[in-house]
């Protein structure tokens, strides 16, 4: 067990290191992206560019620049080139909004997916199943930002059902917090409800034909107990795995679109701004932040898998 954890932690660090180097290189190899030239302005003379360059430490060799940047990230001193703000502080400030959004959406998407998938499988081929299948397919075929924009138009403007405006901290006003987040939660959840409910449906239909289900019926369990305790529970294992991976992706940058349209000042919104201004320090910061959660949840999933299913030996990766 200890060996497994140590190995996975080392793997995580290696992946994060590789990612930071790649982002760093993308921005230093790509032509015309010299930050000093951009900050100095369009018609700056070479002397000014050189001075800006020296101020930011851009005249030093690349490995030194990289090491300095990493040191600043871990000591929390990294400043953005463009606006001269502390990157770590900005990410830190964005965490409450991003986590409120992602956790709330995750609760909704799991609850609805289980409900829809269960109903679909129990009424396979009937009207309920058809309707839910169409709904799920539309959900996974919809651009997230489009759904956000349409909901914003119809539910905050046409019918003023929900308040507009950005994130309200939970500690200040719990009701305002929830009412401002209902639309974003729902928007972010739709895609996953579609995916998960379809997957749960097919898993449950497969599980219905398994021997253990017949055994459960034969020993006299009620149909309800068979469905929930045996069929549903066994069909949930792949869903839980997927949930871990997807939750990591959503926290790690998948929420950019939702945060942008609803103007929630989370990490995603900050990432969007940083990218548009081609600002390397915030970009490295948010990419590492995102990659950290993706890798972390990957590891947690592998670990949970090994605990749930003893056939998978620790130390080997779970089947992809």
């Amino acid at each position: 067990m200890a060996r497994f954890i140590v190995r996975r932690l080392l793997g995580m660090i290696a992946v994060l290191f590789a990612i930071s180097v790649i982002v760093f290189l993308i921005f230093n190899v790509i032509p015309n992206s010299d930050p000093a030239a951009r900050i100095a302005g369009k018609n700056a003379d070479p002397a000014l560019i050189a001075r800006v360059s020296a101020d930011l430490g851009l005249d030093k060799p690349l490995p030194i620049q990289y090491l300095t940047m990493m040191k600043q990230i871990f000591t929390g001193q990294l400043m953005s080139y463009a606006k001269d703000r502390n990157v770590v502080q900005q990410i830190w400030d964005g965490i409450p909004a991003t986590f409120s959004l992602c956790i709330g959406a995750a609760v909704i998407w799991m609850a609805l997916a289980v409900l829809f998938g269960y109903l679909s499988a129990m009424h396979a081929g009937k009207f309920t199943d058809r309707a839910l299948t169409i709904l799920s397919l539309v959900g996974i075929s919809m651009p997230v930002f489009w759904l956000a924009a349409i909901l914003l138009y119809f539910l905050t403007f046409k019918i003023q059902l929900f308040p507009t405006g950005s994130y309200v901290p939970l500690t200040e006003d719990p009701v305002g917090w929830a009412s401002h987040l209902i639309l974003p939660w729902f928007t972010l959840a739709v895609l996953f409800v579609g995916f998960y409910s379809r997957m749960l449906r097919s898993n449950m239909l497969d599980a219905m034909n398994e021997d253990y289900v017949r055994t459960a019926r034969a020993k006299g369990l009620s149909e309800r107990q068979v469905r929930i305790r045996h069929v549903l529970r066994n069909s949930m294992i792949p869903i839980v795995t997927l949930f871990g991976l997807d939750f990591g992706q959503v926290v790690g940058g998948g929420a950019i679109l939702t945060e942008t349209v609803y103007n929630l000042n989370g990490v995603g919104l900050y990432a969007g701004e940083a990218i548009r201004s081609l600002d390397l320090p915030p970009l490295i910061g948010v990419t590492l932040f995102g990659a950290f959660f993706i890798v972390l949840f990957n590891t947690i999933v592998d670990f949970a898998y090994a605990v749930l299913d003893p056939r998978i030996r620790l130390g080997e990766a779970a089947p992809a």
Partner: protein
């Protein structure tokens, strides 16, 4: 895999009556059996039809532009007036509100804030969006198959190295990677050896979208190759003295072709969604060129006064992506009824 499919009876076909001479029994290829299964799936066929119609609709863009709308996709008409119900009307009103949809040849779907004909832009934009979806799917498929064949055939350290690279790309937040590359490459273009792409070319989003989805396709295909690699026919091929390239492309590749076809179809749908997202965030198709994503981005600025600018291109994306998703599912059921391949989003 191919051999076992051949032994199966096509569903819906009555078994041959006893006493029929063997010469009358026709051989059926796996492809023919798959077609028989697909033919029974009316919903999937309907969706394939919808997709073909959408493609034809977009291909007809120049015809509509020339003969009905009399304007190109990027031509502004902010200060002009058109005759609507016999009355000259401002294309873009004094308060900046463009004319809405209505039954008139010009501006059938209204105009946008620059006085451009939304119908014309929708048709041209669809060409761009579908073209990017197809081309990026081709890029992803070629790269994934190469990675999967190399990793699955050679195994050992080659597999380890390729798999670690896939892990790293996998751990990148997809949208962040896409936007970062898109924004950065738009400034200076891309130069890899003899290959040079200008910053405003639609090949920039194509390469980016094609690249970020490689791990999602390469991983499952690699798994299939690893399983096939253990089969006797590969051993036989090695014993016959066939070289690695020959085995990869004439022994392994034909056996994964049905998986590739399904992935390709579903990948087009995913690519179109990613294209729209990148364009919406300003890192995809460059203005003034139209794609459904850029049209939503432009329209979103005016959502409260002219919602049709946002709604219409979104509905087109949904129709296209939905039809591809349903058709892709149908293809999968037809080509390999027992397989559970699924493309991650």
């Amino acid at each position: 895999m191919v051999a076992t499919v051949g032994e199966m009876e096509a569903p819906g076909e009555p078994p041959l009556p006893a006493g029929v001479p063997k010469s009358q029994i026709q051989g059926r290829s796996p492809w023919y059996l798959a077609w028989l299964r697909l033919r029974r799936n009316k919903v999937a066929l309907f969706c394939a039809g919808v997709f073909v119609l959408i493609v034809l609709f977009c291909l007809a863009a120049p015809l509509w532009a020339e003969h009905v709308a009399h304007t190109g996709p990027n031509e502004n008409h902010i200060t002009e007036k058109v005759l609507i119900d016999g009355q000259p009307t401002n294309v873009v009103g004094p308060d900046g509100t463009p004319i809405g949809p209505g039954l008139h040849g010009q501006y059938l779907l209204g105009a946008d804030q620059n006085g451009r004909d939304v119908m014309v832009r929708l048709m041209y934009g669809g060409r761009t969006s579908i073209y990017i979806g197809l081309a990026a799917a081709a890029v992803t498929t070629v790269l994934s198959v190469i990675v999967a064949l190399l990793a699955g055939y050679y195994r050992g350290w080659i597999d380890s190295v390729l798999s670690r690279i896939m892990d790293v790309i996998w751990a990148f937040p997809v949208l962040l990677l896409g936007i970062a590359l898109g924004t950065a490459l738009a400034v200076g273009g891309l130069k890899i050896g003899p290959l040079a792409i200008a910053g405003d070319s639609i090949w920039i989003p194509i390469m980016i979208i094609g690249f970020v989805y490689v791990p999602y396709m390469a991983r499952p295909i690699r798994g299939e190759i690893l399983a096939l690699r253990e089969k006797e026919f590969i051993e036989a091929a090695v014993a016959q003295g066939k070289g690695p390239l020959r085995i990869m492309f004439s022994e392994l590749l034909p056996n994964i072709i049905s998986t590739i076809i399904v992935f390709f179809t579903l990948n087009i749908a995913n690519n179109m969604l990613l294209e729209s997202a990148l364009s919406f965030l300003g890192a995809g198709v460059r203005p003034p060129n139209a794609s459904w994503g850029t049209m939503i981005a432009d329209g979103y600025e005016m959502i409260y006064t002219a919602p049709h600018l946002t709604i219409v291109p979104g509905l087109m994306i949904i129709a296209t992506v939905l039809s591809l998703n349903v058709f892709g599912d149908g293809l999968r059921d037809a080509l390999d009824p027992r397989a559970k391949i699924r493309l991650e989003h």
